[in-house]
Symmetry: C2
Subunit: 149 residues, 2 copies
DNA sequence: TTCTTAAATAAGAATAATTCTTATTTAAGT
DNA sequence: ACTTAAATAAGAATTATTCTTATTTAAGAA
């Protein structure tokens, strides 16, 4: 971990090196993000900011968060895209998700099945599911990238 | 694993024991689900079924998939709800997600950090993220359940 | 088999999350 | 101060999901 002033400093440098503009909106969104431990949604950040900065638009918050992920100062918590994905496979297994095409493959691995829940977690949560979630780019999508200009 | 006829048999029994009606819609949706390896969305299942059964409604597919999860013949692939969740914490860590209130807590665990990617996965994917995703009910939500009639 | 009824469905409206379009503004380099 | 590409605001559009209500039906009872 790192103190917030330092993170903001690094954020400003990152904007520089990545060649994106340091706007008041971006700074506010970044501050809101690192001051929160709740993994906020775009809407949540928008609501907090709208008090200090009433003219900001929700779309800007969405765009900015995406930009932050791209330049590596934020991440989107693991998930599988906009729509719920279902399966009838009730065997214990894990997943690898192609973030490009959305494909989900099943992963069977004995080590993954044996993961223990840390005591500080099991004290606070009744755990219903333990899954290793891998994210990456599938071979097909990698090939498609290669063939792009 | 298990052959599909047997799964359908068990599905019918499950409807019995859970006291829910065995409708043609439910049977079709279940068959579609277990014949797919792609972790389909409701929309995807709806499209496939609509050919054989043109009067089915998308809402029925949604409701049915939820019912299937409730009676334990299907699951929803791991995710964090409808909206994207962001964070500025770029340290390597994992998550536990309360499926009731949506809260996400950070989990730091050295064992989790050391997970290896199975070779058959790394052959097919360029892995960008490895995360242990725990799901459960937080203490607060458990207490709230207790106080319900 | 026919009857009964609560459960389930279809259809479309409503809501929620996200993305797109376009005119306007602005950060940052000159 | 000037220039300009990038960024923003506003609102429309799109997509996913849920809700409402009238109708239909599965399944147990008679
Ligand atoms: Mn799976
Ligand atoms: Mn986190
Ligand atoms: Zn892919
Ligand atoms: Zn909770």
């Amino acid at each position: 971990m790192m103190n917030k002033e330092r993170k903001i400093e690094l954020f400003k440098e990152k904007c520089q090196t990545k060649g994106i503009k340091l706007t008041p909106q971006r700074l506010l969104i970044y501050e809101e993000l690192i001051n929160s431990t709740e993994h906020p949604t775009a809407e949540r950040i928008y609501s907090s900011i709208t008090q200090k900065f009433p003219t900001i638009s929700l779309d800007t918050v969405h765009r900015t968060l995406e930009t932050f992920c791209t330049i590596g100062v934020a991440t989107m918590a693991e998930g599988l895209g906009n729509s719920k994905r279902f399966e009838g496979n009730m065997d214990n297994h894990h997943h690898v998700h192609c973030v490009q095409c959305g494909m989900i493959h099943d992963v069977y691995d004995a080590n993954y099945d044996q993961l223990l829940v840390p005591p500080q977690v099991s004290q606070e949560f009744k755990i219903l599911k333990k899954i290793v979630h891998l994210e990456g780019i599938c071979r097909k999508c990698q090939t498609e990238y290669e063939n792009m200009d």
